[in-house]
Amino acid sequence: MTAAIIAGVLVAAGVYLLLQRGLVRVTIGFVLLGHAANVVLVASGGMAWRQAPLVGDGDTAQMADPLPQAFVLTAIVITFGITVYLLALARAGGDDDPEPEPPPEPEPEPEPELGLDTDPEPDPSEPPAGTSGPQPVPGHRKTPEERG
């Protein structure tokens, strides 16, 4: 039951983060989802009625199942590697906007009241030239804040 609740909370938080715009949040969402999968895997070995696997201490049939733990170890290693690569991509690409090409001519300055529509807490990993603000200048890669 505890495992089910933990997995449920982790999946809920993970899915919420996956639906966010910034890749860093998506990455954290994947970390949470991966944790949820790992909890389910560990639980699949039968958590409730198993004992600690101490030699000479109890029935071997009651000891914790080592196979799901091996699965989880493998899965953690794989997920960790891919998460690091995902973070590298978040760093390499900069802007998260899926528009492949910025428009060739700069957009006119947006009205001041439009600026209020922007995300109240922009992701620190993203350049402040946000998704609903002015369009990024062609060739623009890093802002001073990002470099520093």
Partner: protein
């Protein structure tokens, strides 16, 4: 006994990779080793096809652990055919990459080798968790190959690809956990038929299949595919098209045949997904406007044709679907190599900017139109044999609507191929086909060497169409192995 060769297709490319990473980079060494190892795997795959042709199953308990503990490798006719065709594709696509010097990065060939090792492993393993590991082995280098030497567009494509794959892997992992929790094993042999007797196992298997359907880009989880593959390097797209999504299809075939024992309760669902994929893929391809993206979107449709196999689940239906799969990956790789040649020569695959290629690149035109017609199902090419067998199987199973849709979608595919042909090959020279030289613009010519891999891959369209009989017999053996997995189960089961 002879099963001791089974881990070799996985180990050999990995060892070659280690060697290439350790040694100082020399393109010639890197290329020779990559092609040599793949040729070795091709030979081994051919031998496996011969060995399993009588319906027998080779298996190997890795590490000499007792049965039930050991991780099992197994090869039946289906896996042997898949390994062989994969090795053939790797050779074709890598030689194309080498002729256009796409492998400027020193890790290009090693990454492709690791990718192929993961694919061979996925085809040869009989353990669902091991399958997860091999799929990750396959995906990790593909994440790098997608973004290799690319700009912002390619990074965006890489992000989509990576996030979708990671999500599918996580879902697959949950599926494994549920299966293990219910049955206490992840060995396919021990799991045989359990989803037919237990609804809970069927649900857990369904979680696995949804993850695999995402990797295979089946409708409604296909939309990542046309966003990613058109942005990659040309040779990478050809390589991926034949390797990555097909692993998903293979796993769906295998899991549906062994775990579900071809449960007829789900046949209607599978067939519906197959048909919807066919129609969506064919229509979506017509809406695309560049050489490669048309070919990529139509891939979704062709995956639907293959999924008809488990949907019908008769000997003829499965044999037709496996035949379709084998001939399709070769034809599609040939077409994508043609697209790559055009993009490499003219810097764009945009159909509006191309034109008149037939007058200056006759070999390319031949290399394109033969597999193109095969894809659409024009006799006497291999695609015709595949579609005809699928239609016969549908009639045999009483699925008349499906049969008529196969014909209709074949015509739509012809339309898509015709769109590329009309705009890129016929008509006046497009603006992209002229290059600015000091003495004025001259027509840029297509080099011959990069077209050779396309010709070689495309020649199978003719070969497998005119002389389809041997492969049809082999796919029938493979289909019988799926229909009655008794031999497979006995070979891989720990009990």
């Amino acid at each position: 006994m002879s099963g001791s060769w089974l881990p070799v297709p996985v180990v050999a490319p990995l060892l070659a990779t280690a060697l290439l990473v350790l040694l100082p980079y020399r393109p010639a060494v890197s290329r020779t080793l990559a092609l040599g190892v793949s040729a070795g795997v091709l030979a081994l795959g051919g031998w496996l096809v011969v060995e399993t042709h009588d319906g027998s199953v080779l298996s190997q308990d890795v590490g000499a652990w007792p049965p039930g503990v050991a991780i099992v490798f197994a090869a039946d006719q289906f896996s042997a055919l898949m390994v062989s065709v994969t090795a053939l594709l790797v050779i074709g696509c890598l030689s194309f990459a080498f002729t256009i010097r796409e492998d400027t990065h020193r890790l290009y060939a090693p990454l492709a080798l690791v990718l192929s090792a993961g694919v061979y492993g996925a085809y040869l393993t009989a353990d669902l968790f091991n399958l997860f590991v091999f799929i990750e082995v396959m995906l990790a280098p593909s994440y790098v190959l997608v973004v290799l030497a690319g700009g912002r567009r390619r990074v965006t494509a890489g992000r989509i690809y990576l996030t979708v794959s990671l999500l599918a892997s996580t879902v697959y992992l949950v599926g494994i956990a549920l299966l293990y929790g219910l049955t206490g094993t992840v060995n396919l042999g021990d799991l045989a038929g359990s989803a037919r007797t237990s609804q809970a196992v069927a649900v857990a298997g369904g979680v696995l299949l949804v993850a695999m359907a995402t990797k295979a880009a089946v409708v409604p989880v296909h939309s990542w595919l046309p966003r990613v593959y058109p942005q990659t390097n040309p040779a990478v797209a050809a390589l991926f098209s034949g390797l990555l999504t097909k692993v998903g299809i293979y796993v769906i075939f295998r899991v549906y045949a062994v775990l579900y024992d071809g449960d007829p309760r789900y046949a209607g669902l599978v067939l519906t997904i197959a048909v919807v994929s066919m129609v969506v893929g064919a229509l979506g391809a017509l809406g695309e406007t560049s050489f490669r993206s048309i070919l990529i979107f139509s891939m979704v449709g062709h995956l639907g044709f293959m999924l008809m196999g488990p949907g019908l689940f008769t000997t003829l239906g499965l044999a037709a679907a496996i035949f379709y799969l084998l001939q399709y990956v070769l034809a599609k790789a040939a077409l994508l190599v043609c697209a790559g040649v055009v993009e490499h020569t003219y810097g764009t695959g945009d159909l509006d900017r191309l034109g008149g290629l037939v007058s200056r690149a006759r070999i390319l035109a031949v290399a394109f139109i033969v597999p193109g017609f095969s894809l659409a199902g024009v006799p006497p090419l291999s695609g015709f044999v595949a579609k005809l067998t699928l239609i016969r199987a549908s009639f045999e199973a009483g699925r008349y609507l499906t049969a008529s849709l196969v014909v209709a979608v074949g015509l739509l595919t012809l339309l898509a191929i015709g769109k590329i042909w009309n705009q890129a090959f016929w008509g006046h020279d497009g603006e992209a086909t002229w290059g600015g030289e000091p003495e004025g613009p001259v027509a840029v010519r297509v080099r011959t060497w990069p077209v050779v891999p396309a010709l070689a891959l495309g020649s199978f369209s003719v070969l497998l169409g005119v002389a389809a009989e041997p492969l049809l017999v082999a796919t029938e053996v493979a289909a019988n192995g799926l229909l009655d997995p008794g031999a497979y189960v006995a070979a891989v089961s720990g009990r």
